[in-house]
């Protein structure tokens, strides 16, 4: 996995196939011990942020509408979000998101460290053949 994230060479039938890491984009993250208001400031124009512990491990998701007040983020976050590995095939992950009516996937390493987020449109765009409309 670490090999794929770093773009190192691979061989095999699916070696050149698009993977989730190819669609990754940044998502704001905040520490689990900040307040909701502090987390809201870190979100800027994003609709939410990922909550991580002091080892960078993902522990929850916080939506912007819930980020208000002096309570710790842990009181309003959604703990234990579903995560996916960056090496998953883009078409497989896009299909999973369609089947579960989700619009994005949180990508982490096997240890749970945040890599980024992949949106369904970005994954579907990667999975589409180059000459498709």
């Amino acid at each position: 996995m670490d090999w794929m994230i770093n773009g190192l060479p691979l061989e095999g039938d699916a070696a050149g196939a698009p993977r989730a890491i190819d669609a990754v984009s940044a998502i704001p993250a905040c520490q689990f011990d900040v307040t909701l208001s502090e987390a809201r400031a870190a979100m800027e124009s994003h609709t939410g942020c990922v909550v991580v512990n002091d080892s960078g491990i993902v522990v929850g998701l916080l939506r912007a509408p819930d980020a208000d007040g002096r309570q710790p983020v842990t009181e309003a976050m959604r703990p234990g979000p579903a995560t996916f590995r960056p090496g998953v095939a883009a078409d497989e992950l896009a299909q999973h998101l369609r089947e579960h009516d989700l619009d994005h996937a949180l990508l982490t390493t096997a240890e749970g460290r945040l890599v980024g987020v992949a949106t369904r449109p970005a994954l579907e765009s990667l999975a589409r053949p180059p000459d498709a409309n």
Binding site: M1, D2, W3, N6, L8, P9, L10, E11, G12, D13, A14, A15, R85, G87, V88, A110
Partner: protein, 66 residues
Amino acid sequence: MPAFIDRDAVQAMLGWAQLVEVLEPDSYRQVHLPGALNIPLHELDRRGPLELRTNVPVVAYCHDLA
């Protein structure tokens, strides 16, 4: 003597160490490290002595794509 090595060490050994993916053939066929052989874990004891050289380091690996 077996030892755990990291990505940088494996990368430095490409082209001269014996890389062995220990997952099943379907997984190997999809994707594997350059030059890696495929000896599924349950066959390693039997096939290892037959297919691997004793004078070249062996790097056995699998992967997490879940």
